[in-house]
């Protein structure tokens, strides 16, 4: 506390009068450390050792000084701090000068009081740092310190300063009052007022109001408690109002307000400004990964568009245009990067938002699918992509790339269900791909499409370097078309056929069998023929042909099997007999059932 205890110098003037060189030196030391601490705080984060060291030093120096002198009062000049009229710190450089930093905002005096601790000094440095980082138009150290309201760091900044910022170059506004007139002349009251005053005065006289109620201290006390009690309920309600006011999420409220204003605005010339604000709100929300807010904005815009669809077509069109622009120019293009850094906390909100954005969000939806480890989110992302594909199939198709096989396989999967003609050419794109899994999925999808072109593309897959792909294509193919059948016959007759694996040969025969054609039947019949010198491979091929014929089941096939049943080869014979038995007993399974890839 101040040194003006009873028995000590009572007046600050007398204290100031005895400032000695030691005290002055200490003030100078404090200011040097303060300036250094400010410089360090501007460069380094608060926890940095350099800042921490300066802070400790500053705290110690202040403590030492304030323990002895209670307060430190510094006058602020443009380039210097003065103490008791003596210049104690000077820095002429306006950009980094600490005195100028305070001076420019109209601060005249800075006070530091005993009790000043590390917390307040930290806050002080932080405030200086924050203000110095603001644009000149927004920075004001007086504003900032006022808001901080530090108990032991106070300042004096007279109102005069406002005159340097307000009404510059204009004559000041003022009311001229003729003081003379205020105290000269008369006020003659109207008779009715005079009468009322007379009666009032009489009442006062008669009631003999005495000040008894207003004098005693105990009465004051009881009034205080009575008042407190009677106001308690109001106070509780006011506190609850204040609390709920403080609980408001500014972002959410802002969004609500923007929505209201957008709904209310009728002036066409204001639409562009409103649109800018809406876009800004949206972009800010996305930048902060607050997708719930961004989604909420878009939903509200849809509601407003619908509300004005009939009543105000121009406004509805404006809102629609805003939605489109927001969607198309959405910052979601950058989203995959943020997803990589795991900044997204709420994938449900993100997915809701992306769904609203539509095709422009396709890349981001794909990113969610690829980055999320939650099966539910991955499923939801696929659903969104499928929905997007119904609006803009090309965008979704462009996402399917060999570099992202998992997603591509899923996209191929749901695109195969679409009736879009682009799908076939999209699938054709994988014909020369390298990823086997993708090609298998493409083949499967092509097999499910009842389209001539799909069949032709599958023929292309028959030349694939991978046997599994070729085999899958054979299983998927529907050799109802002449071109397909001819190709299969050509393959089966080709010398290279012999070199194929049994699995592929079986697939080729099965595919031929599916055609039910005479040519296929003839080829299979010929394949049944073996000699004693036939190779082991030839026997196997004949058995495969028997199996295929069984699946074929027309009369010609049965005949061929009967011929085969007379074969010299026991294994071929047995295979044909078994096939015939199956046919006759009706146990022969439908080819279609056995090949689940094919549509009935």
């Amino acid at each position: 506390m101040e040194s003006k205890k009873a028995g000590r110098p009572a007046d600050s003037a007398s204290v100031d009068a005895i400032i000695d060189s030691v005290q002055l030196a200490k003030v100078k030391e404090i200011l040097v450390v303060l300036a250094n601490a400010v410089s360090a705080a501007k460069i380094f984060p608060p926890e940095h050792k350099t800042v921490a060291n300066f802070l400790l030093d500053l705290e110690a120096k202040f403590k030492e000084y304030l323990d002895a002198h209670w307060k430190l009062e510094l006058d602020i000049e443009e380039q210097a701090f003065t103490f008791a009229g003596i210049k104690v710190y000077e820095d002429p450089h306006p950009v980094k000068s600490l005195p100028f930093f305070f001076f420019k905002d109209g601060m005249k005096t800075l006070y530091f009081y005993r009790g000043l601790g590390k917390d307040e000094l930290t806050a002080f440095l932080e405030t200086i740092k924050n203000v110095s980082q603001l644009p000149p138009d927004e920075s004001d150290i007086v504003n900032a310190l006022w808001e901080r309201d530090l108990a032991n760091i106070r300042y004096d900044a007279p109102d005069d300063f406002l005159e340097t910022r307000i009404g510059v170059g204009k004559p000041p506004l003022e009311i001229h009052v003729d003081k003379e007139k205020l105290s000269s002349g008369r006020i003659d009251l109207a008779p009715e007022d005079l009468e009322a005053i007379r009666r009032g005065a009489l009442d006062v006289e008669a009631s003999a109001i005495k000040p008894a109620e207003g004098s005693a201290a105990p009465a004051q006390e009881s009034t205080a408690s009575e008042q407190a009690s009677s106001d308690e309920q109001d106070m509780r309600e006011i506190e609850s109002l204040l609390l709920s006011n403080r609980r408001i999420s500014p972002e959410e409220e802002y969004l609500n307000l923007i929505t209201e204003i957008t709904y209310l605005e009728e002036r066409v010339d204001q639409f562009p400004a409103i649109a800018d604000v809406l876009k800004q709100v949206h972009d800010e929300a996305v930048q902060k990964n607050d997708f719930a807010r961004a989604a909420s904005l878009i939903r509200s815009l849809y509601e407003i568009r619908d509300a004005f669809a009939d009543a105000d077509e121009e406004k509805a069109a404006f809102i629609k245009a805003v939605i489109t622009e927001i969607s198309q120019k959405s910052l979601v293009a950058k989203l995959p990067d943020s997803l990589d850094s795991s900044k997204v906390e709420n994938f449900d909100s993100l997915l809701s938002y992306l769904k609203l954005i539509g095709p422009a969000a396709a890349r981001s939806v794909a990113a969610v699918f690829e980055h999320s480890h939650d099966a539910r989110h991955r499923r939801a992302a696929l659903d969104i992509l499928e929905e997007i594909s119904r609006q803009d199939i090309s965008t979704v198709m462009s996402l399917a790339q060999e570099s992202r096989p998992g997603l591509t396989i899923k996209i191929i999967g749901f695109l195969s269900r679409s009736a879009d003609k682009k799908t076939v050419s999209f699938l054709a794109g994988f014909l020369h791909g390298r990823n086997k899994e993708i090609k298998l999925e493409a083949v499967k999808a092509l097999g499910e499409i009842d389209d001539e072109t799909a069949g032709k593309i599958l023929i292309g897959f028959l030349s694939d370097e991978d046997e599994d792909v070729r085999t899958a294509a054979l299983r998927a193919i529907k050799p109802v078309q002449k071109a397909v059948l001819d190709h299969l016959l050509m393959v089966a007759r080709n010398k290279a056929f012999k070199k194929k694996t049994m699995k592929e040969k079986e697939a080729i025969y099965d595919a031929l069998a599916k055609s039910g054609s005479r040519e296929a039947c003839d080829l299979l019949r010929k394949s049944l023929k073996t000699t004693l010198f036939s190779s082991r491979e030839k026997f196997k091929t004949a058995i495969a042909a028997a199996s295929a014929l069984r699946k074929m089941a027309p009369p010609e096939a049965e005949e061929a099997l009967k011929e085969g049943a007379k074969s010299r080869s026991r294994r071929v014979r047995e295979a044909c007999v078994k096939a015939l038995e199956e046919i006759s007993s009706g146990r022969a399974s439908s080819f279609h059932k056995r090949t689940p890839n094919e549509k009935p």
Binding site: K71, K210, L242
Partner: protein, 483 residues
């Protein structure tokens, strides 16, 4: 927040300390008032001393120190800024005024303090009178003479006792009007509004309200100066900050509230002047146009949002200040269910200032007390009942600026309400005529003053009068006071 040993204290402990400090303020209030009336050996007085001692002792035990400091009209206890609520506002006001009168910047109670020390302090504070500039010295000398060693005092800062603060308050008022005009001009020319200056202006208004609320309230009697909307917005801003302060808003909230009130009619920039000033009743089309100003203002403010200093509340207030408590009014809402607290506050003060201002289209101008009565009739429908009640309490039975006839036959203007809730009928009044009706530059009299001969109040209000009727320009008296 730290204790004297430098250890951090929890928010709960800080709250408890604040509560204790407020209790000390209230008790100190009673003690100082009692000391003026009673002899030192009076039992009632001694009881109050004992209660105060117990509280200070508790603070010393719990915190190791008990230090009051008054800085820039703010009271601190052990480095905690004390916040006056609306129920204890009068006690804070009294203590701060006492400190200022006695040139005290702070009082420190030290361990070892006895109740005898407190009693002597109270007596010294009650009795010491001296010329300004010498009171503090005298006080310290008295304490020393009585051997009080456990109480130390700090002298008030020179800036806290700067003379003629009223002059600055009036200057700030006019600067406010100018600033708003510049903001309106900037908006029409699409220049940048200087919101950091607006914020600074609000802080000044707040500081002046804290220092001399009555005078600043008195300035709101300035009407139709320069341009109605500008003057009105400034008045609304002052009254909103004053009401917000009573309600317990913190200082940053008060600045936000002030800015919100300041810009509440920003949308009127787009309303044609011929409609704003039409003397006749507005037709449907004109009414429709004028009812657009809330959202048009909100729309404009939203466009300033990139300027970080504009509080979101300002947009709320611009949009909602014509929505009534029963949710009627305008504009119609799209989705919004609730009205912001600041909008409710501004609605009250906006209405009050509007109906007490003479306008070409307004058949009747209400006096300030008539306006309060009218508003109370609409409590719950038009206004939030509790907020309105607090506003009425703040304005008092005779709001500052009321023209009153006294039992002595003199006429006067109310310049300050009595902070004692029981004495609301006895404000301070500036006498403007003698009993015969001659205008005078009279004294400011306290209507709670008692004539020692008759033991009756010297003056009592017997009637309020309409200043318009007698061509009394209330604002002139306040402006004149500012020099």
């Amino acid at each position: 927040m730290k204790n004297p040993e430098g250890q951090k204290i929890s928010p709960e402990k800080a709250r408890a300390l604040h509560h204790l400090a407020v209790e000390i303020v209230i008790r100190l209030n009673v003690v100082l008032k009692s000391a003026r009336i009673y002899e030192p050996n009076n039992l009632l007085f001694e009881r109050q001393i004992s209660l105060l001692f117990r509280l200070i002792h508790q603070a010393l035990t719990e915190s190791g120190q008990a230090v009051f400091a008054a800085r820039q009209s703010t009271l601190f206890f052990n480095n905690i800024r004390l916040k006056a609520g609306f129920s204890n506002y009068q006690f804070f006001k009294f203590i701060l005024e006492e400190f200022k009168k006695k040139e005290i910047g702070g009082i420190r109670f030290e361990p070892g303090l006895g109740d005898g020390d407190l009693k002597l302090l109270a007596m010294v504070l009650a009795k010491v009178e001296e010329k300004p500039g010498q009171i503090f010295q005298k006080l310290v000398a008295e304490l020393e003479a009585r051997g009080i060693s456990r109480i130390a005092m700090e002298k008030i800062l020179p800036s806290d006792i700067a003379p003629s603060r009223e002059k600055y308050a009036a200057k700030v008022f006019f600067l406010g009007v100018t600033h708003l005009e510049e903001a309106f001009e900037a908006e029409s020319g699409k220049e940048k509004i200087k919101l950091s200056t607006t914020r600074r202006l609000m802080q000044s208004i707040f500081n002046h309200i804290v220092e001399n609320e009555s005078f600043v309230q008195g300035l709101t009697n300035i009407k139709n100066f320069h341009e109605y909307t500008l003057n009105h917005s400034m008045n609304v801003c002052i009254l909103a900050i004053a009401l917000g302060r009573r309600l317990g808003l913190d200082r940053n909230e008060l600045v936000d509230l002030g800015i919100s009130a300041f810009f509440h009619d920003f949308g009127k920039l787009d309303t044609p002047r011929e409609i704003l000033e039409k003397p006749d009743k507005l037709d449907d089309r004109e009414r429709e146009i004028i009812e657009k100003h809330p959202y048009q203002g909100a729309g404009k403010l939203v466009q300033f949002r990139e300027l970080k200093n504009l509080p979101l509340h300002a947009v709320h207030v611009a949009l909602e200040h014509h929505i009534k408590e029963d949710k009627s009014g305008y504009p119609r809402s799209f989705k919004k269910q609730s009205v912001n607290l600041f909008s409710k506050i501004v609605k009250i003060v906006d209405f009050f200032d509007a109906i007490t201002t003479k306008r070409v289209y307004r058949a009747k101008v209400f006096t300030r007390e008539e306006a309060l009565s009218l508003m109370l009739e609409q409590s719950g429908r038009e206004f939030h009942p509790i907020l309105l009640r607090e506003f009425v309490k703040m304005m008092g039975v005779y709001p500052v600026g009321s023209l009153v006839a006294l039992s002595t036959g003199e006429l006067g203007l109310v310049v300050e309400n009595n902070p004692d809730q029981r004495l609301l009928l006895r404000p301070r009044v500036k006498l403007i005529t003698d009993p015969k009706g001659n205008k005078v530059d009279g004294a400011v009299v306290d209507l709670s003053e008692v004539d020692t001969v008759t033991n009756r109040y010297s003056r009592t209000i017997v009637k309020t009068l309409d200043p318009e009727k007698y061509d009394v320009r209330v604002a002139d008296y306040f402006v004149a006071r500012a020099g």
